[in-house]
């Protein structure tokens, strides 16, 4: 593409100007507004709002569950994309269409459904009681159990805790991984694999040295998108998580709590404190996304050359 003179869209200047205008109106200015609102606070007030133990626990919960969900999705998503690209089977078209459903479905609906399924009387939940603190696996990870008392405690419940959040975040994130790697897999020439096999490469070697390098950038993009989606998720999480401050409360709920808090002394809602927490989440997500981007660029070095 690089050497092409005529482009489909007119003028670099015009299209860049248009892009910048659009991005400014839709993304940059609203996001900057968040920081400007937060900057009305003094440093002390800002630090007080963002370093509250409940807020810190909320960031940790949100980032860890999003990362875990995105990593798990990156593996299952790859397998699903592989199956959809490489094999023909009845119902394939339908399955392919279903993958976009989590994008269209209001996530609150997903949240209610998951909360029902994994509740103590739900289809899945009733068989997962061993994960509860009084079940055998849950007990092991609780304060009184061996693992919990010697290493660290873990909330393994099927409903209400971090595990349940990971499950809904996997639901909302899966289309991003599949849709990112699918086109790359579809374009990938089977001849390259055949060449590798005929040169004596094992299955693992074929995957590791032939398929993976071509796939990695798209795969990482999918991972980043799924992760970012998880961080922003609100609707489904409030239904599956218990929302106990310091334990199972996610930052968006905390932000809403600030917005609902009318400060009678000042005669205003606490927009600034809400913006402060939001700006921390924004900054941290931005840093992680930049890191993933760098990783993606680094991985492109390993892409096999076209010749």
């Amino acid at each position: 593409m690089a050497g092409q003179k005529r482009r489909a869209l007119p003028g670099f200047g015009l299209s860049l100007g248009y892009s910048l205008f659009y991005l400014s109106v839709l993304v940059l200015i609203p996001l900057a507004g968040c920081f400007i609102k937060a900057s009305n606070l003094s440093w002390e007030q800002f630090w007080h709002a963002v370093s509250d133990p409940v807020a810190v626990a909320a960031y940790q919960l949100s980032f860890s569950t999003s990362i875990i969900a995105a990593l798990l999705n990156s593996f299952t998503g790859l397998i699903v994309a592989w199956v959809l690209v490489r094999y023909d089977f009845p119902g394939k078209k339908l399955l392919d269409a279903l993958i976009d459903l989590p994008l269209a479905l209001p996530t609150a609906v997903a949240g209610i459904t998951f909360a029902n399924l994994y509740g103590s009387e739900g289809w899945f939940g009733q068989h997962l009681m061993f994960l509860d603190p009084d079940g055998f696996v849950g007990h092991w990870f609780s304060e009184d159990g061996w693992f919990g008392s010697t290493l660290f405690t873990l909330d393994t419940r099927a409903r209400g805790g971090p595990l349940a959040i990971v499950v809904v975040l996997m639901f909302v994130g899966i289309p991003f991984v599949i849709r990112s790697v699918q086109p790359v897999l579809a374009e990938f020439e089977i001849a390259q694999e055949e060449a590798a096999v005929s040169l004596g490469a094992s299955r693992w070697q074929t995957f590791r040295y032939v398929i993976l390098p071509a796939l990695l950038p798209a795969w990482l993009t999918g991972l980043a998108l799924a992760y970012a989606r998880g961080l922003g998720e609100y609707g489904s999480v409030i239904f599956v998580a218990d929302g106990i401050p310091g334990k199972t409360l996610i930052p968006p709920v905390l932000i809403i709590a600030k917005l609902e808090e009318f400060d009678h002394a000042r005669g205003a809602f606490k927009y600034e404190e809400a913006a402060a927490i939001a700006s921390v989440v924004l900054t941290m997500s931005f840093i992680t996304l930049v890191l993933i981007n760098l990783l993606e660029r680094w991985s492109k070095k390993f892409e096999p050359s076209e010749a």
Binding site: I112, S120, G160, G243, I244, I256, L259, E260, F262, F269
Partner: protein, 344 residues
Amino acid sequence: MTSLRFIINTSLMLALASIVGCFGGSKRGSDDGVIEIVNASYDPTRELYQEINAAFIDDYQQKHGKTVKVTQSHGGSGSQARSVIDGLEADVVTLALAGDINAIAKKQLIAADWEKRLPDNSAPYTSTIVFVVRDGNPKAIKDWDDLAKPGVKVITPNPKISGGARWNFLAAWGYVTLHKKGSDAEAQDLVGRIYRNVVKLDTGARGSAQTFIKNKLGDVFISWENEAILAQREVPDQKLAIIYPSASILAEPAVAVVAQNVDERGTRAVAEAYLQFLYTDAAQDIIGKNTYRPRNATYQKKYAATLPTIPLFTIREVAGGWAEAQQRFFSDGGVFDRIFSLKK
């Protein structure tokens, strides 16, 4: 990538349709002689205002010969107040607590003396906070103390988010300080233990009802009386029981005309008539039928079987007023925050 294109096309079309819908809908006024007013209310009042609006429209048509249309907007009480401040063109607000209306009044959108403009502190109906328990009351819950017992799983919304949930919190507090004449330390202890027994803090009253009824989580659901009765009727097969504590709070959801909006839009007469209508016999009857507590003694008697008399204290007795309650209990670092920071 036909599927992606399909998604983009469909979403563009939907976006376009919704834009057209929004602009089309925002056209107000009286081309066809219909006067439209908007009532911004809180979550559980959907059914109540549906019925009241129908009655009001008939009544207004008969008395003034004009056709009125009442549009409802529902949401958490606090976020409705914020929406009105941020520009939601509501003609009247009918919110869960006076504190939220005070917030709008602070922004000069509502007259400062709004509480005095209508009878009974501008609260045309009341309600209270009760317990909903499972079939046969297996945890033997009778009063507020029982909610604090170890192993009792409590469901209630987060009072920092839900206006209604603040009534729940203050009811438990007032039970100790007013009904049992206990000290603040004792109240802090009991309320702390109750909230540490909460297994799910939802963001609103309807969310908590969902959790308790649909997900069958928890042993007891602290609820508005009207929501409790509604829940019981909604799922008769679950045989939920309502338990009245020995004392609770008199919840006074309040109403006011949004002066700035009605003056701008010329709807003041209708908006004022609408709120006055809430005090009429017809409306008080509908209020009782929808399991809110009427102010009118005749209708209190009529619905006494479903709405039994128990000792009720007011927010003014518990905390002095909403500003004080907000500051002391629900602000950053307030009593509610401290309950959870003590928790390891």
